[in-house]
Amino acid sequence: MTGSTPRTAARTQARTPSRAMTGTLAGTGVLVRLGLRRDRWLLPLWIAGFALIAYSTAVAGAELYPDAASRVEASTALNATASMVALFGRIYDPASLGALSLIKYTAFMTAILAVLMVILTIRHTRGDEESGRLELLGGGRLGRDAPLVSALAISFATSILTGLFSAAALAVGGLPGNGSLAFGLGWAATGMAYSAVAALAAQLTASARAATGFSIGVIAVTYGLRAVGDLAEPGPSVWSWLSPIGWNQQIRAYAGDHWWVLSLPLALCAALVPVVFLLRSRRDLGAGLRDERPGPARGHLSGVLGLAVRLQYRVLVAWCVAFVLFGVVIGSLVGNVADFLSSPGAQDLMRALGGRQALTDAFLAAEISIMGVIAAAYGISAANHLRSEEAAGHTEALLGTATTRIRWASSHYAVALAGVALLQLLTGVSIGIGAASAVNDAELVARSTVAALAQIPAAWVLTSAALAVFGWVPRMAGAVWVLLLGFIALGEFGVLWNAPEWLMDLSPFRHTPLLPVDAEAVPALVALTAAAALLGALGYAGWRRRDLAA
């Protein structure tokens, strides 16, 4: 819009100033294009990803629940299980295929969408401001409101497109058109609402990290509010109505389609956006609402390990809290697992499989191995601090001192390894406590803790792979994430795809022992730990001999 205007045109514009050229919005179009250019891979992948998930869920639902009777049975069971209601919400029409198929998507996936919208919005607001990029651009002909308007435009458009494509995908997947549209618009409006929350947070705090933390905190709290609301008998209590995620559930797509509820998130947007602009106009570039507090004049960091802990502990604490909460909820589901199968036929089957104990074990093993994969993701992100510190130029200052490369690399590697172990310990204990209190069996605490600890070596393999990549090809730090996704996909679909055995065997998660863990598991655990050590040594070797790369 305001890119390269010929001189004569610029003069004409100057005489009759159009708002887009000279007002507080000047340059918005350029910024939108810049933002889309930066995210040209991220946004299409993400919109397509949500649509694909929606489509496959619709198709899978139709296969799982072919008739009304099976739907009513499943819905009734879900609605009667408190922990499921707390986690996912209620199904308001037990016979509705859409409401049942999408039960995990109305609240839970919506929260994930909200997290992504928060990351996107803050990346284009406070993130750009903190890095100084906005200052660089602000030197050009850029209106005061242009950065905020363009950031919100990108976030809102992404929300709306995600919703519309998902609605189309659901309809193509065979679900009723009206319900699909209600569901998709629900995602769109909720995504917009949380984008507005993130834009507000970006004005309140002086760093992108704090703004993200604040916004994700809001998501967590509103998720919790709706859980409380959903648990009330009957139906949602007032708590649900205090949460945008709760509103999304109350749209009741495929179960009555309460269209008017869509006005709530939109009203929230309409209320928040002017406040955001007001706050922006009242503060300096780079400043938060509150002045930066002075910190200590003297430092007590003992060395690079102290520094690594200092840089990483907040994030680790957040992971720990999430793992404990998740663990307790998952653990408490154990009670329902047995109750689900109360029909005589199912009980026969259960006995054939090894009794209640075997069923509990199978359930716990599945949940604990999922937590193991998530812990591996933590390990990778913590180990990748090595690369982000190097790229930021921090490593140069440290290596200019008497610190050796190995000692510095060991600091973040150690935090990553210890963090993985801590997370798995907390998982085991919290799942164990949740399960033990649900079925009154204290022995489950030790049982699930041992199982969770047995996941550590596999997660360490991925953590060490991140170190190996850092040592040899630092610019490809993202490759380890691809590796993790590949292993997850092989675990889920390897058999379906007829993947060769050797390929599936590459995944460390395949060699991790399942519950109950006994002496037979020891060789596999030793081998996995050795593989992790080998990858770590490989990484050190590469790091010792390569140039420092900016």
């Binding site: 903190e130 002086a206 760093s207 990290r209 930066e292 002075p294 910190g295 200590p296 004049a297 003297r298 430092g299 007590h300 960091l301 003992s302 060395g303 690079v304 102290g306 520094l307 200092r310 840089l311 930021a392 130029g393 921090h394 140069e396 200052a397 440290l398 290596l399 200019g400 001192t401 008497a402 610190t403 050796t404 490369r405 001999r545 390569r546 140039d547 420092l548």
Partner: protein, 302 residues
Amino acid sequence: MSSVVEMTGVVKRFGSVTALDGLDFSVAEGEVHGFLGPNGSGKSTTLRLLLGMLRANSGSIRVLGLDPWHDVATLHRRLAYVPGDVALWPNLTGGEVIDLLGRLQGGQDRARRDSLLQTFDLDPTKKSRTYSKGNRQKVALVAALATDAELFLLDEPTSGLDPLMEDAFRGCVRELRGQGRTVLLSSHILSEAEALSDRVSIIRAGRVVESGPLEQLRHLTRTSVTADVARVPPGLDLLPGVHDIVVTDHRVTAQVDPAGLGPFLQALTAAGLQALTSQPPTLEDLFLRHYGPAGSFEAARR
């Protein structure tokens, strides 16, 4: 005097780009050595090689008698480094960063740290993200100068500092020289190196093209003079020490050696001097004059 830094025939390539192309360079013990060159000439690459952060493709490097690639920890305990681009952790205060770097260095002098904070007028309680470029630079300078190093490697140490702070920095460097320590400071500003250095080396396109005491390099430090006169007198170009003279109407432009300045100005005054500007030549000017036309920069870099 023995050499503290000794580089011979050092070649460093990044992929197809040759950053250092047979660099020979030495710094003697106890001297302040100015390392001069335009942007992209290989100054920072040289310093990173001296620190063992990069590995040379060929050639030999000794720092304080040690191999910087293999003896990192031993060597670094004896030197202090200020990077050209100071990046700090945004949520740590300046004081925390200074103390961390000092501890990693193997101890810093507390009293000296505090007096340096005063000298540079730096508030150590501020979070690093709120520091300006100059203040970030001060954090790195205080951390380095408060140590008890034998050798100081400073990569464009005054970038971002205001003139007052530049002055404070010069005082610190003189103090170090008084204590017999060795300082290697890189710069692209000739006058800065001139004010501090005992010896100067000039790097261009990955090679040291001039090296020696400043007096020896005096021929490099001509002053560029532009004057408006009532009438241009004949024979200006015949005066000793006057070079590259250009006359347009009533304006005279010339490069003048320090010794030739007096007679030249007398001649101009006699000719009815109306306006006068003078400036020390920029490094780029010098390179253009001494080492070939503009195009050869690019040619030499390839």
